[in-house]
């Protein structure tokens, strides 16, 4: 019974959806304030999602119906499952086993994969271009992001998120020893979530809404909810790994809040990058820097 409660209500399930929407609001509100706008009211993401869920879902011609309806569900499920293994809201992970870090990283990629497939599934031209860009972007940031998660795992000598969190909580601020990893992880998260300046896959002035152009109603709401959850999981992971661990709700709020401030600041300050600029940035600078840091770490670990 308590397991079902944990899965559906708290700390996963409904609670996490709410948390995702709250972080989406923080993102939108802060960005608006940085841009000298007023920004949405606190319940706006909730209102948006309720409205979308209540609306008709139009299934366009020429798509595989099963995929079209199933992909948003899989994407949201992936993000929610990933949340089970991270110390969301400062509570110990609901489930944990040695090696859950790898599973979480893969579950986080599921969302992007689903968006790419959803775009490729429809015959809309904007969706197809969007899907190509989404998947191109996936291939560029995924490797560096994974490497940044590897760094803390190597120094903590475990593949278990909970254990790495505890290791970081014991006074090991990896931000200081692995600054490159921290920056690349944050920027990688922004790439994952297709936030500006990495929003070429959904650049509205070019390809309308990218891969999700044909989505309306329920499907769109589920993708949005999934992105909110993934944002929470992402900042939680980075906060736990690099900012000295997350042991209680207060620490969670402060650390993820600080990360959000950074993320929104980057969004406000930059113009959108073209897709080939994004790929160039990741492979020329991101990956190489993280690889160099990883090599140093490995050498250090073998010597000490």
């Amino acid at each position: 019974m308590s397991e079902i409660f944990a899965l559906l209500i708290f700390p996963s399930g409904l609670f996490l959806l709410g948390l995702g929407m709250a972080y989406e609001w923080v993102d939108r509100k802060l960005l608006a304030r940085f841009q000298n706008r007023i920004g949405p009211r606190w319940f706006q993401p909730l209102a948006d999602n309720i409205k979308l869920l209540a609306k008709e879902e139009v299934v366009p011609d020429g798509v595989n119906r099963l995929l079209f309806i199933g992909l948003p569900v899989v994407a949201l499920a992936g993000a929610l499952t990933a949340a089970l293994y991270v110390p969301a809201f400062g509570l110990p992970p609901a489930y944990s086993f040695p090696g859950d870090l790898i599973v979480t990283i893969y579950l986080l990629s599921l969302m992007t994969l689903c968006i790419g497939l959803a775009g490729a599934n429809t015959i809309s031209r904007f969706s197809l271009i969007g899907a190509t860009r989404t998947l191109t972007q996936l291939f560029s940031y995924e490797a560096p992001f994974m490497l940044t998660m590897l760094g803390p795992a190597i120094v903590a000598r475990t593949w278990q998120i909970g254990a790495i969190n505890e290791f970081a909580g014991a006074g090991n601020w990896l931000l200081l020893t692995q600054p490159i990893g921290f920056i690349v992880a944050l920027i990688g998260l922004m790439g994952k979530l297709e936030m500006p300046p990495f929003d070429a896959p959904e650049a509205e002035t070019e390809i309308v809404a990218g891969a999700l152009t044909e989505y309306s109603g329920r499907g769109l709401a589920l993708f949005h909810l999934g992105k909110g959850v993934e944002l929470v999981v992402g900042v939680t992971l980075i906060g736990a790994f690099y900012l000295g661990g997350i042991a209680n709700p207060l620490e969670f709020l402060i650390k993820t809040g600080a990360l959000m401030l950074f993320i929104v600041g980057v969004q406000a300050l930059m113009a959108r990058m073209r897709i080939e600029q994004t790929v160039g940035l990741w492979w020329r600078y991101g990956s190489l820097l993280v690889l160099a840091q990883l090599l140093l770490l490995l050498i250090w670990e073998t010597i000490v």
Binding site: F34, Q35, N36, R37, P60, D61, G62, T122, I123, S124, R125, F126, L128, I129, T132, P196, P197, D199, A200, A203, E204, T205, E206, I207, V208, E214, A268, L269, M270, A271, R272, M273, R274, I275, E276, Q277
Partner: protein, 401 residues
Amino acid sequence: MTQPVEKKGDRFIIPIGPQHPALKEPGHFEFTVDGEMVTDATVRLGYVHRGIEKGVESRNYVQNLYMLERICGICSHTHAMVYAMGVEKLAGVEAPPRAQAIRLIVAELERIHSHMLWLGVAAHEAGFDTLFMYSWRDRETVMDLLEALSGNRVNYSANLLGGVKFDITPDQVKDILEGMAFLEERNRHYLEVVMNDMLLLGRIRGVGTMSKADAERLGAIGPTGRASGVARDVRLDAPYGAYRTFKPVLMLAETGDLEGRFNVRLREIMDSIRLIREAVTALPEGELTTRMPRRIKEGETVSRVEAPRGEAFYFIRSNGSEMPDRIKVRTPTIFNMATVLTLARGHQLADMPMILVGIDPCFSCNDRMVSLKRQGEEAAGGDAVAGPVMTWNEFRKAVMR
């Protein structure tokens, strides 16, 4: 509605418009892409054709002032001014110096407002929404000034045939000078941002480069042409009204890319600020209007004004009655449109909105003429079909289904 992939041979066509988030007005562009590369581009205009040229033929000269001012929402003053200048020339009347200076002040305020609007739109197309929001916030200053002067934010209705409607009081001069000081500071900052922001430069430097020869060949005018080094500005080439006294400085860039267009427009804002300062402090004394005859004597004339986007050209023919016989309007966008199609080839799809917006298009301005072809008949050289293709009634039936 779904838009199935159009198969024309092996071509993959991305449509932009008539309804698209990149466009603030309807126009239809088809970009043939190979991956992300654009290999071909076509344009279809005419979605906002309103029949104004026909409409003015059944209204008198005073009514037409209001009609023509509504051709464009951004450069409304330009259209009223160029029309008033043409009619005054036909009637052999000249507006008093004070009226001409006020026309200049409103025209330059309008240029500032148009260029700042463009800056915001261009930044938005580049995904730089912060610059968009900031430049539009600061643009409110000039909008407020125009409202204080004329009572309107969009169609200022400053012109009368033979003068202007309102005076500029010393209090308003003070407000204008204050506003100019603020705008000068802000625009200097934006110029710095545009010229130094690495990510924005990555999107505009070397993108949409048009050589001077190309610009001349395609007939690029206004800031688009000046960014490619085409030294053409009606205010200097054929000075009119108060521009004979207050001389603008020609702003040129040699690069011809989007960076050059940002550069030229932002420096033009600075120059407009200087012009306004000079004009409001040296405002000639005198009347605001002169008497205009109701009937304009027979004849035809041409009048030209440098609109924010380039040369606005009016041909007016009078048959001696209260109503004009024919008014032909030519706006700058239609010339620059050809440059978009030429520049598009070889660029990436991501650059298309930027290149399109780089010319500062105004669709409702240029959607004026329709050329009709009989079905199954290819007109030689576009519109060289002999005789009327349709009668007026047939045309009405065809377009007003």
